[in-house]
Structures are given as C-alpha cells and as structure tokens.
C-alpha cells in the first residue's frame, strides 16, 4: 500500500485549527465499517440522543484530537446516497443541507469499503459536490489486498481532491493518521464530479438567491428534496413547488441521469487508481459458507439451533444473575427496614428501591440478548436470517428479522422490543414491536402455573403427555397465533410511510469485533435503565401508594378488625400479620379501585379481590401471584401448592368453590392477552419515540384480553 502524501494545506483553510471543538459528521455505506470507526474514535465516550421525528438514535461521541482540540463526532445512519430511501436516512439530508442546524459539521468523514470502492464512491462524490470539507476513510484495505485489489492512494487523493486515509478500522490501523488529518484538513474539494445540465442553471440561480446558497449542487438537492426537508417553511415549499412546476422539473429522470453520470466518472477514475491483480475468484469463502448456512435444510436447522441457544440463554442462564439482583434488592430492603422505620422508609424500600429492582432485574436478559444480536449482526449472519425468512414473514406484514424479536419475546418482551431496532423498514418495525408483547413471556409463567395447577388435573395421555403441560403449550401457541394474526391486521391497517425494498448489499462473513459487541451491550442497557427506567419507577411508586394507603383511618380500622378476628380464631402471630395485611389491602385505595371496577369485570367471572390483583399486577404480571397471596392471607411464602390449596378452599356466595375452571381459564386468557407490563410500555415508548404506540398497544391488548376472557368465561360456565 503506497503511503499518501498529505495535500498542501492553505493557512486560510484551517478553519478549525486552534478552535476548541470541531463538529464532525461520520457518513458511509452500510457495512463500510462506519460503526467500527466511530467506536475506535470515541470508545465509550458516546451518548445516545434523539433526532426529532424519527426512531433512529442520534449517536454522538467525543474524541480528543490534540490536547487543545476536541471533536464532537456524530454518527449518521448508513446510506448509499444522499437521496434518502427511508425515513431514517432523511436525518442525513436534514443535517447536511441546513447550515443553520446546530449539528452542521465542520468536516465530514466518509467511510468507504476499499474492497467495494466503486459503489462506495457514489456517496462520496455527492458529498464532494456539496463542497463540504471532507476526508475519505478508505476502510478494509486488508480485505481489498486479500482479494488482489491494489489501490493507488496518492492518485486517488489527487483525483478526489481530499485526503484519503487507508485504514483498517476493525484493528484500529490508520485511526491515528485520520486524527491528525482531522485537525488539519478543512479545504473543500474544488471541481465538481457531476456537471449539472446547463438548462437547470436559471432554476438553480433563483434557488440560490432565495435561500442564500453558494453551491449549485445544494440548490439542486433543494429542488429534488424540498418536500422532505424539515427546516423549510411552508411558504418556501410552496415557492419551490411553483418554480419547479414552471420549468417542468423531472426529479426521477434527473436523478437517474445523475447517478449514471457519476458511475461513469467513477469508472474512469478507478480505471487508473485501482488494479485488480488476481482474477475474480470462482468462489469466495462467504459464498461457500452460504451454501451451508442458507441451505434449505441445514440453513433452517442451524438457524433454529441458534434461536434455541438465544432462548435458552435469556430464559435459563439469565435467571442466575436475575436471582442475585432480586436477592440483593430484598436484602437491602430488609437491612434498611431493620434499622429505620416510618412511612418515608416504606416509600424508599417498597416503592423506590423495589421499583429500581424491577428495572435492574431486566439487565441480564438485555445484556445477553444483545450480545447474541451484536455477534449475529457483526458476522453478517443476520442478513442471512432475513434472506431465509423474508418470504414467510412478509406474508404477515413482518420482516425476516422479526423472527428474533418474536422468539425473544417468549422470554421477555423488553429486550425483544429493543431488538426490533435491526429492522430498517418503519412499518415492519412498528408491526413487530406492536405484536411482540403478545408472545407469552416468562412473567406469565407464575400466573399460568398457579391457575393450571388449580383447575387442570394432573393426567397423563399415552404415558408421557401431561395434560397440564398440554394446556401450558396451548397458551403459548395461542399467544403466537394472536401475534401473527394481529400483524396481519396491522399490515392492512397501517399505511406504509416508505416503499419497502429488499435491495441491499449481502455482506460477506466477518469475525465479530468484541469491542463493538461490548459497546452495543452497554448502550442498550443504558438506554433501558435511563430512559425506560424513569417511567417504571414512577408507576411502581404510584401503584405502591395505592396499595399501601387508604382514605381516612381505614387502615387502623382494618388492623383492629384483623386483631379482633385473630383473637376470636386463636391465630398465630404470623397468621395474624397475614390477616392484617389482607384487611389493609382490602381497605387501601387499590381495594377501592378493585370494588369500583367489579361491575366491569364481573362478566369475566372476577370479583373485587381479583380486581385488586389486576390493578397491582399492571406494573408486572408476576405480581398477580403475590397480591393473591396477600389478599387470601397466605403470607409471603409463595409456594404454588400452598397458594393452590388456599385458593381451592375459597368459596363463593353459594358455598361452591370460587375458582371454577371457567374463572381460572378466563384469568389465564386475560393474562395471555393483556398488556400488564409497565416495562414493556416504557420501552415501546422509548423505541418508537412516541406515546401513541404504547397507548394503542395498551388499548388493543386490554380490549382483546377483555373480549377473549369474556368469551372463555361464558363458554366454560
């Protein structure tokens, strides 16, 4: 690889030299190593924010270039051109075409895959024509060299008019050179790559005058994209409409001509700068691997094996750290309660700390799931998953990549919803996020097992098929069916915001970069804890207050009643305490809510006691079992058999068993469909960046739960 000589830097062009902070935008094709370079430049010094109106995260990071110069680097979504094809890509044009934007960069770093230079240079030549100061990070030179591609960097640099830094971002090679150039080079390329047709000049002239622009290509971009540029006022959009109408501006045809002209120019340029020494290898390593990994039998077997491994990991392995967190939180609470007392201490322990525990307990699952997903993405395997599943999933309005969120949803909807981020298409992603919580998650298991134990006899068919197990499996299948059918419904209802394409680069297999995997895990955990966490703690506290306080002196009365009963019935100290807790919960605000909603839930077979449990388990489904234990004064020992025996002995007004099969199945069906999980709602809001989606989900799932539970109750009774 020849070493490039730096182009001479004119003193006048050193805009940022000496400045404290420079703004740098990182842009490039998908799979061009942009994320690796971003991670190399910023390390863990990253923060995730929002771009208004889109779901894509805004990742910014800081890099100390020299002791006096710090760079703020913004990582833009991967794109093939400056003509956005998806909503997420519009972020790029909004940022680059508006010099008044606070993120408007002083310098643009374009990453390009050296082994695939022709297509990668298209985006570069567009940026160059905007005359923004730019650097070309010529990435993956190692891969290019292996494939026999020799690039004359000095020549390329001369032809492109900007510094070209050969690098291997995965290994960090070339990063130091890039940093040096980032502090120096700021002159923009001078000669345009694309000659704008002369007949457009009058139009561009008037656009330039109106918007005070100096660059012809930027004016042309205004003409092509004015309808989607957020910073243009309505008045300006109307003016552009009129101007373009007058000259008969044909956006599609002009774009096509431009792209062809650019490729022609790039071909000429690469003819001199790139030599391919080895002939095209018959079969690349990736192609051979694909013959197994996308094979019609082995491909699916391997994929389901991987899914099984992921499922096993978040279902079983994550339970150890989760139990540790649970234990730690409980221990901390006991420690505080033993040493301090008073209502504030209760608020702290049972409200705040328990709420925080409810957030932290998700961390192991999120970390493990994203470790897997990051590896699948990094290696290029995720593209094969989409490739194999696209045809089936598309029928249901889903995407090949929806398989991962749906399967992960069986363990927990929270990390599953976060993993839908890998789906590029907006509509596919929204549908996936919407239906994922219908998959039966692990928090439903305690509810299912207690209720199944209550009403389904432990019978065996054919010696091995356990009836209880069959019912449990039926519930899981029902959840899956509900998810698929809801997706189909949404496919019809939801209007696509963009055309859905499958046209994309099929990346070659690569070894994962562990640093990237680590950063992904940290980023996802932080996003959940800090963004969804706020909502979860707030609602946990509200629910705790509702269950722990009652109007007036209700609580004292409840305690006295319980004590009187205890004396009369000769209860032990522990039984007395359980009785007090039970009476207090009944007279709390939650109890009042339970009684108030009783008329509404009576058609489902529920009484006010179940009403209380529905309310308290709104934060998390598994709380249902705990609340039932408290109401029926079972105490804290949540043993399935004790709870089962206690619930079995519960009688209705006529003296018949209260928990009939009809009631129990109605409850199971209710919990199967209902959105009884604040954490999921909070993460859906975080991922969709709006309250509309979680609200719609809450209404839809609760409505579905109500109707299905009603039907179930009526059928069985």
């Amino acid at each position: 690889m020849p070493v490039a000589t730096q182009p001479e830097i004119k003193p006048a062009a050193r805009v940022t030299a000496g400045a404290e902070e420079v703004k740098i935008a990182l842009i490039g094709n998908p799979n061009s190593g942009k994320t690796s370079l971003f991670n190399q430049l910023t390390g863990l010094n990253q923060k995730v924010g929002n771009f208004p109106g889109v779901t894509v995260d805004k990742k910014t990071g800081y890099s100390q270039l020299t002791p006096s110069i710090r760079a703020e680097i913004i990582d833009l979504p991967g794109t093939y051109s400056l003509y956005p094809k998806s909503l997420d890509e519009r972020v790029i044009t909004d940022l680059l075409y508006d010099p008044t934007s606070k993120h408007f960069p002083d310098l643009v770093i374009v990453t390009a895959d050296a082994s695939n230079l022709k297509r990668n240079l298209l985006l570069f030549t567009q940026l160059a024509d905007l005359q923004l100061p730019a650097v070309l990070a010529l990435n993956m030179v190692d891969v290019a060299e292996q494939e026999g591609v020799k690039i004359d960097v000095a020549l390329l640099q001369r032809e492109l008019g900007v510094p070209v830094i050969p690098m291997n971002a995965r290994k960090g090679i070339g990063v130091a050179a890039l940093k040096i150039v980032m502090t120096q080079q700021l002159s923009a390329p001078e000669k345009p790559f694309f000659q704008i047709p002369a007949n457009l000049q009058p139009l561009l002239q008037s656009i330039k005058e109106r918007f005070n622009l100096s660059n012809d290509y930027l004016a042309l971009q205004f003409a092509h994209q004015y309808k989607s540029l957020k910073f243009l006022s309505e008045e300006n959009v109307a003016w552009l409409d009129e101007q373009l109408e007058a000259v008969g501006f044909k956006s599609n045809a002009l774009q096509a001509d431009e792209t062809i002209a650019r490729y022609t120019r790039i071909n000429e340029l690469l003819l001199d700068a790139v030599r391919v020494e080895k002939a095209e290898k018959d079969e690349k390593f990736s192609n051979r691997l694909d013959q197994i990994l996308t094979h019609r039998v082995f491909g699916y077997l391997i994929f389901f094996g991987i899914l099984f491994l992921i499922f096993q990991a978040i279902f079983a392995w994550a339970s150890y750290p989760m139990d540790l967190i649970d234990g730690g939180i409980a221990g901390l609470n006991t420690l505080i309660q033993e040493n301090f007392s008073g209502p504030l201490v209760n608020l702290l322990t049972e409200g705040v700390i328990a709420g925080l525990g409810g957030i932290l307990v998700f961390v192991p699952q999120i970390a493990i799931l994203f470790a897997f997903i990051a590896v699948l993405e990094e290696t290029g395997y995720m593209a094969r998953v989409t490739f194999m599943m696209d045809k089936i999933m598309r029928k249901f309005g889903l995407n090949g990549k929806s398989v991962v969120p749906l399967i992960s949803g069986v363990a927990c909807a929270v990390p599953a919803v976060m993993s839908a981020r890998t789906i590029e298409n907006w509509k596919d992603r929204m549908i996936t996020i919407f239906v994922t919580p219908l998959m039966s998650c692990s928090a439903r298991i305690p509810v299912y097992t207690v209720l199944i134990a209550l009403v389904v006899p432990e019978k065996y068919y054919f010696g091995f098929m356990n009836l209880q197990g069959l019912v449990l499996m039926g519930l899981y299948l029902l959840g899956f069916l509900a998810a698929i059918l809801s997706a189909l419904l949404l496919k019809v209802l939801l209007k696509a915001r963009e055309r859905s394409y499958f046209i994309m680069e099929f990346p070659t297999y690569k070894m994962p970069r562990w640093k990237n995997v680590g950063i992904t895990i940290v980023e996802k955990v932080k996003a959940f804890v800090f963004e969804a966490g706020k909502v979860i703690v707030a609602i946990s506290i509200i629910l705790w207050v509702l269950a722990s306080y009652g109007p007036g002196n209700n609580f004292e009365k409840a305690e006295q009643l319980a004590l009187k009963e205890a004396q009369a019935e000769n209860l032990t100290e522990e039984q007395t305490e359980n009785r007090i807790a039970s009476h207090q919960l009944e007279s709390s605000y939650a109890g009042i809510v339970g009684r108030t909603i009783e008329p509404v839930i009576r058609p489902l077979g529920y009484d006010w006691k179940i009403g209380i449990a529905l309310l308290t388990s709104f934060a998390a489904r598994e709380v249902f079992v705990g609340t039932m234990s408290t109401i029926y004064s079972i105490g804290e020992e949540e043993n399935v058999t004790t709870i089962k025996n206690k619930l079995m002995s519960e009688k209705d007004a006529n003296g018949d068993p209260f928990f009939t099969p009809a009631r129990s199945f109605s409850l199971m069906i209710f919990y199967l469909f209902a959105m009884q999980c604040v954490s999921t709602l909070a993460i859906v809001r975080r991922e969709t960046k709006s309250w509309t989606w979680p609200a719609a989900q809450l209404v839809y799932m609760s409505g579905l739960a109500y109707v299905m539970a009603f039907i179930t109750y009526q059928l069985f009774s």
């Binding site: 695939n116 094979h295 699916y300 499958f502 046209i503 099929f506």
Partner: protein, 83 residues
C-alpha cells in the same frame, strides 16, 4: 432509461436467470425502484451474475460490480437484460 413497455416484452429479466448465469443489464423498468438499483450499481451495460436463491426461492442474490446484492424476485423482475 425507460422505454415503452412493448419493447420489453421479449426481454429476459434477472428473475428468470439460472444460478451461475451471466447477463448484461439493458434497462430498469420501475422508475422509482430503478433509482435505488442504479445507486446500488445496477447501471445499464453492467454485467450481472445470478448467485443464489433463498431456500424458499425468494429473495435471491446476484453479483454486480464484484459484490453480492440481495433482492426480492419482484424487484429482480424490473431489471431487464440485453439479448
């Protein structure tokens, strides 16, 4: 890049190619999707090679400009070949 529909009637599209078969792009039929395909390097006059099909027959991968591009069959149908 667009011609009248009648001219394309006998033209073969990438959809109908067999695995390993090569051809040269003549034209792109869907103007909007065409822009996306052009950006990905499917320029008229460029050679394409059918590389593989997904296990269920759709999508497919083709080799163009020395890299692998994946696309659905109804997208491949809009890429017509020179005879």
């Amino acid at each position: 890049m667009q011609h009248k529909a009648e001219e394309h009637k006998e033209r073969k599209s990438v959809r109908e190619m067999k695995i390993g078969e090569r051809g040269v792009i003549c034209c792109l039929q869907d103007p909007e999707m065409g822009l996306k395909l052009l950006e990905m390097g499917c320029i008229p006059g460029t050679e394409v090679k059918m590389n593989s099909r997904a296990p269920l027959g759709d999508p497919i991968t083709i080799i163009v400009n020395n890299y692998t591009l994946s696309l659905r069959l109804d997208e491949a149908e809009t890429i017509l070949l020179k005879q």
